[in-house]
Amino acid sequence: MENTHITNSSTGTSAIELSGIRKTFTLSEDKNAQQVLALDGIDLSINQGEFLTIIGPSGCGKTTLLRIMASLILPDEGRVIVEGEAVSEPDIKRAMVFQTFGLFPWKTVLDNVVFPLIVRKYPAQQTREIAIQHIKQVGLEKFQNAYPHQLSGGMQQRVGLARALSTGADILLMDEPFGAIDAQTRELMQEELMRICQEEQKTVVFITHDLNEAVMLADRVLLMSRGPGQVREIISVNLPRPRTEYDVRAHQEFVRVRGHLWRELRNDLIEQRTEEMV
């Protein structure tokens, strides 16, 4: 089997580069409340066109890290560099897909997808065309005028995906996007996401709870550990693409990577538990 998709780790600038990211949170509103170190010294370079999944125990700061990449929150220390430029605000190069979909219940599918475009004051006709094109891309052309509450969870997240794609951003930041979707729909959505990202050459950072999902989608898997959140390991997944054309889970590379990740994750969880008990 030939590796049809090559991660371009050798080419020029990274899509996202993080250096020395550190973030603390204050627990309650009292001034003398305790501080929690959520992320400590994260260094990471994500290549253009790469699909990076992030996995780790709950509370390891995955979502915080993603929100820092999106510039929704700022790190206390460290820098975020997107395509060669230091950033401190959300911009058009990055688009986020949310775990709870984040659709406006008062807007139709079309209006939800158009939203980021009208915010940027694109000409009306053009925004409509772009939006419709992406609604088609996720297979919802028949539901253009439906409201979110009329759609199933899977369909709602398709809208979320179409909305992110319509911005034309090169980088998709996805926070457990399929976490709230039933298992079978999720598999279909995974396939579609892989297809779209390959067609459009997107860089994707994808948080997940699900080991299979992490390995199946990724060029590289980032394993985090918690207390404080740190990079424990980054592991490459050398599975040929397109991965929809064979049974990925039966592939020995999949089995190897998954097994390795599970041992690491399990050790981390057990360590954590004994520490908590002491």
């Binding site: 959300p90 688009a95 709870t100 406006f104 219940p105 709230a180």
Partner: protein
């Protein structure tokens, strides 16, 4: 399907059956004890016909509606901007909240003596009874709506770098709409009670006035006619707003 049909007919025939039983019983008992005092349904219907024919009921309803609608509209005009202000500027809202809550929790019948010294007993006094409490209900709910914008949607908007104006237009204002409508409904309930209090305790006019005069004339049938009109009026207004509220309910919850 058969089951559904039975169920559907049940919800029609049972209330009618029960109404017939109650009205029939009332008629029999009322007639045999004291037809004047216990106002059997036949006497109420006769009275209703009389009141319609003489135009008394219609004229009274008109007076009631005038104060009701004018006071309500003024309350909407004042209450929504006030609520937006209280929501957008939480400090102001927090400082104002205790007074509004205290006024709102005070039964209006006991405020009547104050209203008499401030506004007299005329139209203005009734208008105030409708306006003030309704405006409070609307503004408090609006403020809550503005303050309780869904954090997940705020974050979505921020991730697309939305400006202040766009944030208000696409996120904050539509998000507050269901709360405003709740305020409109609660306010309407308050408004109806307010206008009736005004008509019973201040100047004896309108539907409330009919109740008071009929009470002094010992004519329960006449009272019940006015009560029925008030109840129907209230039901129509509140049900309409209820339906509107239900329609916007999906805006409130996360849809998954």
């Amino acid at each position: 399907m058969n089951l559904l049909a039975t169920f559907k007919s049940r919800r029609v025939y049972l209330p009618i059956l029960s109404l017939l039983v109650v009205l029939g019983g009332w008629e029999l008992v009322g007639r045999s004890i004291n037809p004047l005092l216990f106002a059997p349904p036949s006497s109420i219907i006769a009275m209703f016909g009389e009141l319609i024919a003489s135009g008394e009921l219609l004229a009274a309803a008109k007076i009631t509606m005038q104060a009701l609608f004018l006071g309500y509209i003024l309350a909407v005009i004042a209450g929504i901007p006030m609520g937006v202000l209280m929501g957008a500027w939480p400090r102001f809202g927090d400082i104002l909240q205790p007074y509004l809550y205290a006024i709102f929790s005070t039964p209006r019948v006991v405020v009547v003596p104050l209203i008499i010294v401030w506004f007299g007993i005329g139209f203005e006094a009734r208008l105030f009874l409708v306006f003030f409490w309704t405006a409070i209900a609307i503004s408090v709910n609006t403020a809550q709506g503005v303050r309780n914008a869904r954090p997940d949607l705020l974050e979505v908007a921020r991730s697309f770098k939305v400006g202040r104006y766009q944030m208000a237009r696409h996120v904050l204002i539509p998000g507050a709409v269901p709360f405003v409508i709740s305020g409109l409904r609660i306010g309407a309930e308050r408004a109806i009670v307010g206008v009736i209090i005004g008509e019973m305790f201040l100047q004896i006019v309108g539907l409330g006035g009919i109740i008071t005069t009929a009470s002094s004339q010992l004519l329960p049938a006449k009272m019940l006619c006015a009560v029925a009109v008030i109840a129907v009026l209230g039901t129509i207004i509140v049900t309409t707003l209820d339906m509107l509220e239900a329609r916007f309910q999906v805006w409130r919850n996360d849809s998954n």
